[in-house]
Amino acid sequence: MENNDNRLIKIYHGPQHPGITGNMSMELDLLGETIKGARTHVGYLHRGFEKLIERRTIIQAFTIVCRICVPEPDPNEENFARAVEGLAGIEISQRAKYIRVMVLEMARLAAQMLWMGGQSGSIGLGVVGQWSVYDRDLILDLFEELTGGRVYHMYIYPGGVRRELPNGFLEKLAQLLDYLEGRLLAYDSIFFENSTFKKRAIGVGVVNRDEALKNGYVGQVLRGCGIERDVRRDNPYLVYDKLDFEIPTYEGCDVYSRALVRRGEMVESIKILRQVIAQMPSEGAIMQKLPKHRKFKLPKEDIYVATESARGEFGYYMAGDGSEFIRRMQVKGPSLIHGFTLLENLLVDEELSNVALIMNSLGICPPEMER
C-alpha cells in the first residue's frame, strides 16, 4: 500500500461555514486531523469605508461608521464622536458622558451575550445560544426604546447624544440588570461550569504570555494571560475614572480563561451600569451647540483615540484638512492583530475541531480587519 502518512491536505475553513465567526476564511494544511499551517484570508467584507468617508460630511459619515463592526457598533460611534470632538475642540456635558457610558456598557453586555451563543455553538452546546440570544434581545429592546434602532443605534454623535432618555428608562434598565444578574448563575451551571466546555476549553489555544504585550494583543487575550490592561482604566475616557470597577484576570492563557474573563466582565458591566444609574445627573444638556451642516469643518490636525470594546482596544486615527470632509479615518479593530499575527500561529498543531473554538474565543470579527 502507498504510504500517505505525510501527505498534507489543504482545506478552506470558510467563508461559508457554520463554525466561522463571520465572512472570512482560514486556509488550513492538515496532516490527518492536525493543522500544520494556517493562513487567514479576508476581503469578503471589504466595502471601502475609508474611501467612502472621504467623500462624506460629518453627519453623512456618522451613519456608516457604526456599520464597521456589526455585533457591537457603539464603540465605533464613540470613537468617531471623540475624534471629531478632539479635532474640533468640543467639550460635552457631564450628563451626555454618563449616557454614553451607559450605552457603551449595555452594548458590551449585549456583545458578550452574543459571544456566549457563538462560543457554545462552536462546541455543540445549543441550549446556551437559545438562552443568551434571548437575553441579548432584551437589551436590544431597551436600545430600541432609547435610540430607535435594534442593532445599529446611530446615537452617539459628536457633541453629545442624539436623544433624551425616555420616561422611566433607568428604572427599566435597573430591572433588567437584576434579571441578568440572576441569569448569570444559570449560565454558570449550563456553560461556564459545564464539564463538556471545561474539557474542550482548558489548555486549548494557549497564548504565549511573554510576547503578548509586545505583539500588541488586546482585551481578553491579555487579561486571560493574567496581564491587567484595559483602556477604560489605563487611558480613561468619558467618566470611567469616576466609576469603581475591577478588571478580571485569569492566568491560564487558554480558551477557558478568556471565557471566565468575559464572565467577569459581564459582572463588572452590571456594576458600572448600576453606578451610572445612581450617579447620572438628572439635569443638563445632552447635546452641545454645533456648527451648521456645511460649516462643520475640521482643522488640519490629526488625532488617535481608543475605546475599550467588548473584544479589546478599538482605535481610530483621524485627520482633518480644513474642509467639511474628513481627510482620513483609519480603523484599527482588535481583530486585525488577533486574526493574523496571533491566530495563524495559534492554530498550528491544533486539531481541526478546535478551529471554531479558538476563533470564537479570540472574538475575531472580519468587518473591522478589512473595513
Binding site: 467563508p15 461559508q16 465572512n23 467584507l45 471589504h46 466595502r47 455585533p71 445560544g129 440570544v133 434581545d137
Partner: protein
Amino acid sequence: MPENTQEGFIDQQKVLDNEEYSIKNTQSIIQKAVDWFRARSMFVLAYGTGCGAIEMPPIFTSRYDIERLGVVGVATPRQADILIVSGYCSYKTLKRVIRSYEQMNEPKYVIGLGSCTINGGMYWDSYNTIKKLDEYLPVDMYINGCMPRPEALIEGFVKLQDNIRNAKSEAGYIQYRENNAFYRANQEKIFGKNTTPTFEENFAGMNQ
C-alpha cells in the same frame, strides 16, 4: 344544491370553471401537494455575506423561533433549499455566493436581505460591492431595511412560502436555468476571466 334547475346547473358550472377544481388542473394536484410540502419545510443556508448575519441568531433561537414555520438552518449548500444573501456582496463574496448557489439542488430559492442587495444601499458608491443582486442570481424575495428586523424576515419567509405554495410566480431557479446566458454575461462583466466555471466546463474537467 338543486341539480335539475337552471340555477343548479349554473352553480355546478361555476364549480367546474373554478380554477382550483377544473379538469385542466387535475394533473397538477400532485404538484400542488408537493408545493405545499415544500413550503412547509425550508432548509436555509444562511450565508453571512454582510451585516444581515447578525439577525440570524435571533430568528433561529427561542425568541422569534422561526422553526415553528418549518424553517431550519443547515450547514452545507447541498442540503439547502433557500439561500439567504444577508447583506451587501463584495466581488470576492459574490463569486463564492454563486458557487454555493450552483451547488444547491433544485428547487432552490434566493432571499436577498437588506437594502444593499436591492440597490447598493449605504454602499451605493463603493467600488467593491455589487449594486443589484438580481443581475447575478435570480432573487425570489427581497426584504428591505438596514437592517431588516426579525419580524420583517419572518414576513419575508411567510410571503415566500405563499409564493411556493400557490406557484404565483415562476421560481427563480427555472429562470436561472432558462436565462443562464443573461446571468453568465453579467457575472463575466465584473469577474472577467475569473468567472466560476460553467457546468460543461466542470464536467469536462471531471472526465480528464
